[in-house]
Structure formats: C-alpha cells, structure tokens
C-alpha cells in the first residue's frame, strides 16, 4: 500500500525519477543560497533576480528556439548584468542596493517584454518560461547537477567570508578587500541557481524552492550549518511529496512542490522550537538554549 503510493510511481516511470533527481539537485544547490539570502535580508532579491533572468531567457529562446544553451546563457547574461550594474550603482552612488536592483530588474523585464512582442512570435511564451519538471531531458539534468556541484563548491570555499558578511559586513569591509568580491560571487550564485531552477520549475517557481525552505528552517535551527541542512531536507521532502501529489491527484507539478514547501513553512511557523508561534507563547525555560 505504502509501497504503491510512494515508490511505485518512481519505479514505473522514468520521467518521475528524472523529475525527482532534478528537484533534489535544485534542493541541494539553491536552498543554501536561499539561506544566505535570508540571513542577509535579501530574500526579495531572489524574486527580483528571477524577473531579471526571464527576459534574457526569452531573448535566448527567440534567437535559438528551445535550446537549453541559448536560454541558459541568455538568462545568465541578463541576471549578471542586472546584478553587476545594481552593485556598481550601489557602490559608487548614494542609491541603496534595493532601489538600484529594483530599477535594473524592471528595466530588464520591460526590455525583454518589448523584444518578445516586437519579434511578433505568438507562441505562448509562458509555455517556454514555465519549464516543467516533468520534461527534464538528459541535457537539462546534467546542467542542473553541474550548477548544483559548482554552487556547493563555491559556497564551501566562500563559507567563512559569507558568514562574516552576514554577521558583520562593516568588519569584513574594514579588514579585507574581499567584501565586494564575495558579494558579487554570491549574487552570481543566486543567478546561476535561478537559471538552473527555471529549466525545471520555471523562473518564478525556482525562487520558491530557494526561499521557502530557508524560511522554514529558520524556525528549527540556530546555527548556519543547521539552517542549511534543515533547509535542504525541507526542500527535498517538499519535492518528493509535491511530485507524488502531482502524480496521484493530477496537480500541476511545479506549483504542487512549492505549495508543499509553503505548508512546511506554515508548520514551522507554528511549531518550530526556535521562535515559532507556539514556542513563543509557551513560558520560556532558560536552562535550555
């Protein structure tokens, strides 16, 4: 019975196994990035970046059709351009980062929509821009896994610097010239993971798998390592349950996965021991951390 419900779909259908592998890759790659976004109070940056990527991918599609390479490169270029330009403006002018990021992603988005409509193709772009996790081919899976590997390696190398930047950015800036570099590499990781995620889940859903598990983990763990591990676990479980719901109840898979992550966030919000609503309402026992 349980075997039938949980394992049979994956045993019978290759596309389910591919979907699960793709989701797990995103979970491992994007979620830690999401944790750092959250710690640096940049959770909405993920959303802005997703919008910045979308036109790049659309332009790639218009130039080369449904080509994984063109859409990835287009998305990367658009995302990195927005990240670099907004970072530059922040560093050399008085405009704060959130405002300059908003300005550039809106420009990028408008430019993308303009290019798409003047080209006059009426193929519904939403079909293209909302990738579906059920149609991952070999190339897409390899891309996803490569992005995840790269992302994990870079995060490991930058871990200490990133933690410092989260905890005390002023200190890092005063003792090391690496602050700006760390920031840009980190933004590059955000873009890279969103571009990977959009092949599987579509740009907008990719933000969900990046941010929601991180937000949920916040109510369970206190150390950064703990946050990352819990977030990855939440993301993987959400992927599995979401795919199974999509299989058994005929729900679209992308939204199903993100909604399961949303439910995980809701449960964490209520029951999480570290700052959850119920834990806050209970009288505190100071002997415990």
């Amino acid at each position: 019975m349980i075997w039938d419900a949980i394992f049979q779909p994956f045993a019978d259908f290759g596309f389910m196994r591919r979907a699960l592998l793709g989701c797990f890759a995103i979970s491992v790659g994007a979620t830690p990035v999401g944790v750092f976004l959250m710690l640096r109070r940049m959770s909405l940056t993920g959303d802005a970046m997703a919008h910045a990527i979308l036109p790049g991918a659309a332009v790639g599609y218009l130039i080369a059709g449904l080509s994984l390479g063109a859409m990835t490169i287009g998305g990367l270029i658009a995302g990195m351009a927005v990240a670099l330009l907004s970072g530059l403006v922040t560093r050399v002018t008085a405009l704060r980062e959130d405002a300059s990021l908003a300005a550039f992603y809106l420009i990028s988005l408008a430019l993308g929509v303009l290019i798409v409509s003047t080209r006059g193709s009426n193929v519904d772009l939403m079909h293209v821009l909302f990738g579906t996790v059920l149609a991952l081919d070999d190339a897409a899976l390899i891309l996803l896994c490569s992005i995840t590997s790269l992302s994990v390696l870079i995060l490991a190398a930058l871990f200490r610097l990133l933690v410092l930047e989260c905890a005390d950015p002023q200190f890092l800036r005063s003792v090391s010239g690496l602050s700006a570099l760390t920031h840009f590499i980190f933004l590059a990781l955000v873009v890279l993971n969103l571009v990977g995620g959009f092949h599987a889940l579509g740009t907008l859903m990719a933000v969900g798998i990046m941010i929601l598990p991180a937000a949920a983990a916040r109510f369970w763990a206190t150390s950064i390592g703990g946050l990352v591990l819990v977030a990855i676990a939440v993301a993987m479980l959400s992927s599995l349950i979401g795919l199974l719901l999509s299989f058994h109840y005929s729900l679209p898979s992308g939204p199903a996965i993100i909604l399961v992550a949303g439910v995980a966030y809701g449960i964490s919000l209520l029951f999480g021991p570290s700052g959850g609503l119920i834990a806050q309402a209970m009288p505190r026992r100071h002997s415990e951390v």
């Binding site: 290759g14 979907a19 193709s121 009426n122 079909h127 149609a135 579509g202 109840y249």
Partner: protein
C-alpha cells in the same frame, strides 16, 4: 501551366473591367482584407491574387488560441473591407477586437456550411477540451466565458473537403465586396479547388496503404479530429499537454501507459507547442518521434508548410512515414 493560368486571369480581368465599366477605376486598387490566421490568409491570397491586400493577424508559427491582438491589428481590421474568420469559437479574442476597431466591412465565417465535429467524441477528451477552453478564455476573454465555450472542434481546415467550403465562402464574399473582379475570383477558385481535390486523392492513396493496427498517433494538442475522420486515423491528445504550464505527473503517466498498452507507434510534435515533454514521453515508450505536424499555423516562408496545401501534404506524409515504417 502557370502562364496559362495567368493568361486566363488577365483575360478575366479584361472581361471584368469591360463588364463593370463604372467600377473600373476602383478595380486597380487591391481591396484590403484581414484574415485572422495564416491558413485563412493563404487561402485569401490564392483566391484574390493581386486584387486583394491581405493582412494576417496571427502569422506563421503563431498560436491563434492564445493570441493577444495589438493596436496595429485593430487598425488593419478598421480599414478592411472583408474580414475572414474561422468561426466555431476558434478566435476567442475576435469579438473584442471587432468592437475595438469599429469594423464595418463584410465578415465571412469560413466554416459556414461544414459539418462540425462536436467535442464530445470520445468521452475522455470531452472534459479536457472543456476545461481547456475555460482556461483559455479566462486568460483572454473574461466576458465570453459563459456563452462561448466551443461545443465544436474548430480545427476544421484539417479536412480538405472542408477546405473547399472555406474557399467557396471566401470566394463568395470577396466577389460580393469587389464585384468587378468576381470573375477572377471564381476562376482562381476553380483552379484552387482542383488542386485541393487532387491533394485529397493523393492523401487518400497514401493513407490507404497503412495497416489497420497502425493508425493511432499521439499529438500534443487535439487538432486533428477532422483529419482523422476523413482518413480513418485516430489522434490521441493527452489531457493537459496543450497547456504546458499546468501539466500534472498523472496526465503524463496515463499517456505513457496508454502508449505502452496500445503499442502506439509514433508521437508527433507541433509547430505551435512545446516539444520537450513529448520528447521525454517518446524516450520513455517505444514510440518514435514522427516529426513535426502543423495543426493550426503555417510555417515560416522557408519551412515545409508555407502554404495550406503544402501543410496538408507535409502532415500526411509525415504521418504515413511514421506509421508505415
């Protein structure tokens, strides 16, 4: 052949000019015609020739289901003397466009007089198509939601015998709108209909060779019912696949099981929908990818389906190649 037709055409023009004396000055100027999508545009051009200036709203490789009209379209419709539409609720966005553009020419519904296929054929598909219609209309045409969810399959041009009806309807309206050239229109019509009927005979001969157990294919959107009826093929269009963003794992699993159980030999991609999913499905079953079919839009001018007749021939040969092998 071509020069002969040209000669006939010019003879007819001279005839028309002499007969319709007063209208002669007008006859030199092509009349503005708007066709809603590429297939109708091609037909109008064949019938009207140099006497019409055709504007096609949804161009090659465009999906008329999800089209969003632009102000330029409204201007074209406003200037048009004849507006050629498919009907059967194919162009859900059309009424709004006509309202917005203050159109006061003649409107011809190309499907007038055909025998439409209701969506209820095959209980499995009926619900799906209904759902899909609702979804589509929700996106583009809120007020039409209740009265306008098509009961009939609008892809009637997929039948060559329907195409003759299309051509007759268009010819009659063009002739009414521009009576000075009516003789030319009817002459062009005769040549075109002859070509259509010859192609119909060709396709019948091609399809007749297919064995009875290899007559089912999978396509990504349910647009070939008329073709199937004419030539005795079965087209399966899986639930949800045409709205790619909302596809569920269950739909795909169901389709894969169906392909495995019925040993369906081929799946086909279409020029107006996302091929990635079908490629995956083909990978997972033994079905071959039979190539690209053109359900509702012509290809770009350098593609294999740049005219309506080429499109029909391309579809038939692609199907026969995949099923016959």
């Amino acid at each position: 052949m071509k020069t002969k037709r040209m000669l006939l055409k010019s003879a007819a023009v001279i005839l028309a000019l002499t007969v319709a004396g007063p209208a002669a000055a007008q006859a030199n100027k092509p009349i503005p015609v708007v066709a809603t999508f590429s297939i109708l545009g091609d037909m109008v051009e064949r019938i009207g020739g140099e006497h019409v200036a055709v504007v096609t709203l949804v161009g090659p490789d465009g999906d008329a289901h999800v089209y969003q009209p632009t102000p330029a379209d409204a201007r074209a419709v406003n200037k048009a003397k004849v507006l050629v539409v498919n009907g059967l609720e194919f162009e859900g966005w059309l009424d709004r466009l006509i309202d917005a553009s203050d159109f006061n020419g003649m409107r011809v519904k190309a499907t007038d007089g055909i025998e439409p296929i209701p969506f209820e054929e095959g209980a499995d598909h009926a619900k799906h198509d209904d759902d899909e219609k609702h979804k589509d209309h929700g996106k583009q045409d809120e007020h039409a939601k209740d009265d306008d969810h098509g009961a009939f399959d609008p892809h009637a041009w997929q039948s060559l015998s329907n195409a003759v009806v299309y051509v007759d309807n268009i010819t009659a309206t063009l002739s009414k709108a521009d009576s000075s050239n009516a003789a030319t229109y009817y002459m062009n019509r005769a040549a075109y209909v002859a070509e259509i009927q010859a192609l119909d005979a060709d396709i019948r001969a091609i399809v007749a060779k297919l064995p009875a157990d290899r007559r089912t294919v999978v396509t990504s959107h349910d647009a070939f019912q008329y073709f199937g009826r004419d030539y005795g093929l079965t087209f399966l269009a899986p639930q949800g696949l045409s709205t790619e963003s909302a596809v569920s794992a269950k739909d795909i699993a169901h389709l894969i099981e169906q392909i495995r159980e019925q040993r369906i030999p081929a799946v086909f991609m279409e020029n107006i929908s996302d091929p990635r999913l079908l490629k995956q499905i083909a990978n997972e079953t033994r079905a071959a990818i039979g190539g690209t079919l053109y359900p509702g839009a012509l290809s770009a001018p350098n593609g294999p389906a740049r005219t309506y007749l080429r499109m029909m021939r391309h579809n038939a040969t692609a199907l026969a190649r995949a099923l016959g092998s």
